[in-house]
């Protein structure tokens, strides 16, 4: 557990840094709010409509495909760590695994799953 100590220390430094900065600007900064200042900043142009807009379902499809390939990549971590003891055998296994998902990718591509229709 002791080797996580640096991470813990870094965590507290980061937390302290963020809190100090926000705190200092809170204490030292002058606040003169006007209506213009309080509107959301949209590149200096006057805001058009609400920022709460419905997303297109197309994002959802991309997100789902991302999850699947994310899980594929997760399997590669233990594989990479244990690769030396698994030798060629492990390499072939991963090749089959990725091969199947490559066919899967090909299918998505040809079906137009990656197109923004």
């Amino acid at each position: 557990m002791i080797h996580y100590l640096p991470i813990l220390i870094l965590f507290f430094i980061a937390l302290g840094f963020a809190l100090t900065n926000v705190g200092i600007s809170e204490i030292l900064g002058r606040k003169r709010p006007t209506k213009e200042k309080l509107t959301p900043y949209e590149c200096g142009v006057e805001p058009v409509g609400s920022a709460h807009e419905r997303f297109s379902v197309k994002f959802y499809l991309i997100a789902m495909l991302f999850v699947v390939f994310d899980i594929e990549v997760v399997f590669m971590y233990p594989w990479a760590v244990a690769f030396k003891s698994l030798k060629l055998f492990g390499f072939i296994e991963m090749l089959i695994f990725i091969g199947i998902l490559l066919i899967c990718y090909f299918y998505i591509w040809k079906r137009g799953g990656l197109e923004w229709e």
Partner: protein, 487 residues
């Protein structure tokens, strides 16, 4: 570990699975590469059918062998081979009844066939898995494929609703199963079914509370998949909303696979603590039979009626599970095969009658069928009589063996309740027959076109139903050889 080579785990043992996976992917690739219109892609059905047939021949080659491959995670014995045969037959018949149905309903996607093949892989894993992890992965592959297949008819709201309902409830039940597996692992420190049995034997056949809780959760998880009451609430809506060919598939495949896993887990791992689970399953069996049969009495939609009837059949099968003797395994195997033929046959006829967009699904739509299409009416009557368990059909012999296995183990009351239920069931099966023969047509029957595919499927189902009913000896002998190595 360094000495591992390809040979130590016998990759040939999963050859049928590899074939199914290969053909499943091939169907998809060919589909996306082809430039033909959706309705004209006949080759999708042909390809997947070839895949199923090859897989069946390969699995036939293993007959008589017993081997453990993949470090004991995958078992090949007569038991799993019998189930493999049931699953492949189920997939094959489903493809046959689907071919024209999917073209009629505009869902002739390559995905449709791929998912049927992939879910068959899942079922095979469930029947062959010798540890809980394999069974779980198999169950997931099977279920997720079927969630998607149910929602395949994207333009129809009931199909979407059915898919969503099945998915939400199914995911929830999977959670139960997985939690059960986790508790069993926590209690025993192993997920191998044999090691669990060894552990229980070491404790002198007494379950500690953790293991008991795990067992209960596993019952819930698998009970959902086989549609046993009180985990049956999803069945009617999902069966009604799904494309009819898929309803036929999911009424047989997942139920058979669920029982395959149920038997393996409870006879091998928990075989010695039979007294701890027999009462639960006893209650489940009675509830399942009674609920299914009584609610089926008031149905007006044929698919809903068959859905409740499939619940009732799960109840009969649970009777044999309670009995837990050598006879009950072969009784379940035989019954599942009989159920496969009569169920897929009945749904095939429903597909033919219902016509485009599934317009005719009420029981009253069958009125007067016997005058217009006498041969279809005879076939439908045969399947319904078999489901009701009237001799000389397959259903009768199946029920007979199930009830005798119960009596052999001394569950006389359970057998009596089963028989009473079968009598109740006759009413609603006969209602359809009466409508077909005794009432005049309530609608114009359009000329029905019976494509060669669905015709072959119906013929196979008829032959199966009659053959198992009149000459059950041969199949029974195979079923008797396929028993699990008990205790």
């Amino acid at each position: 570990m360094p000495n591992t080579s390809i040979m130590t785990f016998n990759i040939l043992s999963i050859l049928p699975v590899l074939i199914l996976a290969g053909f499943g992917m091939m169907v998809l690739v060919v589909d996306v590469l082809s430039s033909r219109k959706m309705g004209e892609k006949n080759f999708l059905a042909y390809l997947s059918l070839i895949g199923v047939v090859i897989a069946a021949f390969l699995s036939k080659n293993f007959t008589g062998t017993t081997l453990f491959s993949f470090y004991g995670a995958y078992t090949i014995d007569n038991y799993s081979l019998f189930f493999q045969f049931v699953f492949l037959l189920c997939a094959g018949l489903t493809i046959l009844i689907s071919k024209n149905y999917v073209q009629r309903e505009n869902i002739n996607y390559g995905e449709y066939y791929t998912l049927i093949l992939f879910s068959t892989i899942g079922m095979i894993l469930m029947a062959s898995g010798a540890d809980l992890l394999n069974i779980f992965i198999g169950l997931e592959i099977m279920s997720i494929s079927i969630y998607i297949l149910v929602g395949m008819k994207r333009t129809r709201l009931t199909s979407n609703e059915a898919s969503l309902k099945y998915f939400l409830l199914g995911a929830f039940s999977t959670g139960f199963l997985l939690y059960g597996i986790a508790l069993v692992y926590g209690a025993t420190g192993t997920i191998s079914l044999r090691q669990i049995a060894v552990f229980i034997a070491g404790k002198g056949g007494v379950l500690d509370p953790l293991l008991l809780a795990g067992m209960g959760l596993i019952i819930v998880g698998i009970g959902f998949k086989i549609a046993s009451a009180p985990f049956h609430a999803w069945v009617p809506d999902v069966y009604e909303g799904a494309p009819t060919a898929i309803t036929a598939f999911m009424a047989v495949g997942p139920k058979a696979a669920g029982f395959a896993a149920f038997l393996r887990i409870f006879f091998i791992a928990f075989g010695q603590v039979h007294q701890d689970w027999e009462k639960i399953i006893w209650i489940l069996a009675v509830l399942t039979m009674t609920t299914g049969n009584i609610i089926a009495l008031i149905q007006t939609n044929i698919k809903r009626m068959l859905a409740y009837s499939s619940i009732a059949h799960a109840g009969y099968l649970l009777i044999a599970l309670v009995a837990a003797n050598n006879m009950s395994v072969s009784a379940i195997l035989f019954y599942l095969l009989a159920y496969l033929f009569m169920n897929i046959g009945a749904f095939a006829i429903v597909i033919v009658i219902s016509q485009k967009e599934d317009s005719f699904l009420k029981i009253s739509d069958f009125s007067g069928l016997a005058y217009k299409h006498p041969r279809l009416a005879i076939a439908m009557t045969l399947f319904l009589l078999s489901m009701a368990g009237i001799p000389p059909t397959a259903g009768f012999v199946g029920k007979f063996y199930i009830f005798s296995s119960a009596i052999k183990s001394g569950y006389v009351l359970l057998a009596i309740i089963g028989v009473i239920n079968s009598v109740i069931a006759v009413f609603y099966y006969l209602r359809v027959t009466v409508a077909m023969y005794m009432r005049g047509p309530e609608r114009e029957f359009q000329p029905l076109t019976l494509s060669p595919f669905i015709f072959v499927a119906i013929i196979i189902s008829i032959i199966g139903t009659i053959q198992l009913g009149i000459f059950p000896a041969k199949v029974l002998e195979i079923a008797q050889r396929s028993i699990l190595l008990l205790r």
